[in-house]
Amino acid sequence: MDYEIDFKCIINTQEEIPEEVVKKTGINFPEAHTKAELIAKLAIEIKKFYNDTFSMVPFCSTVEAEALGANIKMGDSKIGPRVGKYAFSSIESLNNLKTIDLSKGRIAQVLKAVEILKQQNERVVLNVQGPFTIMSSLIDPMLFYRAVRKNKDIVEKFMSVIVDSIVKIIEEGVKRGAQIISFGDSAGTLYILGPKMYKDYSGRYSFSVLKKIEEKLGNSIIHLCGITSSSMDKIGFIKLIPIEVDKNITYGQAIDWIIKERKDVKIIGHNCIKKSNLKMKNPVIWNIQI
């Protein structure tokens, strides 16, 4: 059977927290993004609203960057957390980036929320942003492209701090009980960067994260975002192997089956984790080998 290898990202409104859920829980924003108990409560209600298999945290893409020094405007129930002023504005200042501290701030609360959800027997997805996405929340991407030409060493050091920080988050997330680490680098795809920059930088950094974390996952798995896996596949960083699954189950149920029945499979993806509550058009889970 021929499986459609090309992944198309369909941006959907599941980025928003449903108004109904906001009303039902009575949780205020931006508080909801900052306290473990509220994060966990909201995650469960969102899961119920979408009839989903998993509770997913966090609800924004800024937690990692914030822990590395990004200025984040917290927003309200309609407009979520987003980057304010860039944290680093010169090539030399990139030297100042320190590895992430998981014991403070929102990242600590998100990890605690994972623990709370696990204790309540929830199946937990921890969303983790990729190196380029985090980089572009810390600095103007323009600065990155300039720095790559003028001072590769500083760039390598900066990005290796980000890569190591991502690995730390994933390790801790697994330890706290996340069954799935949803990993994607939407700001650093082949389509944006072109083959050279992708191969030499973005793809290489994402590959490095996967290589470093592969043996430390225990019974958890990584779900690789479809745009990220498409880019990695086209350049040759990964191999995609289809595993046929039951066509009458949802994507989330299929992922659960893989976790329970296929211990040999550590990385899956080439699809959108946000479709976990839907039945699959193509009843296939993509096993990803690096």
Binding site: I79, M142, R146
Partner: protein, 219 residues
């Protein structure tokens, strides 16, 4: 000799050579080359060639941004030497990313291509409340408001800008252009935008067409 210099200027922008672009721009000034011609047939020409390579998938976003770096460095040298009339009477575009969204590379590229086409672009930046677009457009006498977003959660802000313009009776005077990942022609039609374009080059050309139409209507 002049043509060689202009070709060199265009090449240095196309090849993302910032230092070289500055050097050649200085040479143009020393040789009394007409600043407008140097900008139009040198810098802007290089940027347009870069835009074509982008459409052909030879250049990607990093390359376009580095070309623009070179172009802007050249502009810094040449702009002070423009004749006064050449700096006035440029049609104005107010551009920005809608409130809640901070993805701005696309918006930056649109700004670059619009400036390459001879428009004056007032860039409000990212995460901009709808009312700020309207206020700025009024303040500077803009012909166009250009709105960008990459997130579905912020698309409503675009409709809000148009509603505010209608409330102030300005919808006929100021055209609204929209663009970005989740935007489509049907969304643009639904909210009453004047134009939707897929990429930076098309946006720049469409902006010029809209302004021509506006001018024709006044006459």
């Amino acid at each position: 000799m002049k043509d060689d210099l202009l070709k060199e200027l265009s090449d240095s922008v196309l090849n993302m050579q910032e230092e070289e672009t500055i050097e050649i721009s200085k040479k143009c000034v020393e040789n009394n080359t007409n600043a407008y011609e140097a900008i139009d047939k040198g810098l802007a020409d290089g940027m347009n060639r870069a835009g074509k390579l982008y459409e052909e998938e030879e250049y990607y976003i990093p390359e376009l941004l580095l070309c623009s770096d070179a172009m802007y460095s050249g502009l810094d040298i040449l702009k002070p030497h423009l004749e006064k009339e050449e700096t006035e009477n440029k049609a104005k575009v107010v551009i920005g990313v809608v409130e809640g969204d901070t993805h701005d590379i696309g918006k930056n590229l649109v700004k670059i291509m619009m400036e390459t086409e001879g428009l004056e672009v007032i860039d409000l930046g990212r995460d901009i409340p709808p009312i700020d677009f309207v206020n700025k457009a009024k303040e500077v006498g803009a012909s166009i408001i250009a709105l960008s977003t990459l997130m579905t959660t912020t698309m409503d802000g675009m409709a809000e800008v148009i509603n505010l313009l209608k409330k102030e009776g300005l919808k006929d005077k100021i055209s609204v252009m929209v663009g970005g990942g989740p935007i489509s022609q049907s969304f643009a039609d639904k909210i009453g935008a004047d134009a939707y374009t897929l990429d930076a080059s098309k946006a720049a050309k469409r902006a010029k067409a809209l302004i021509k139409k506006q001018t024709a209507e006044i006459i």
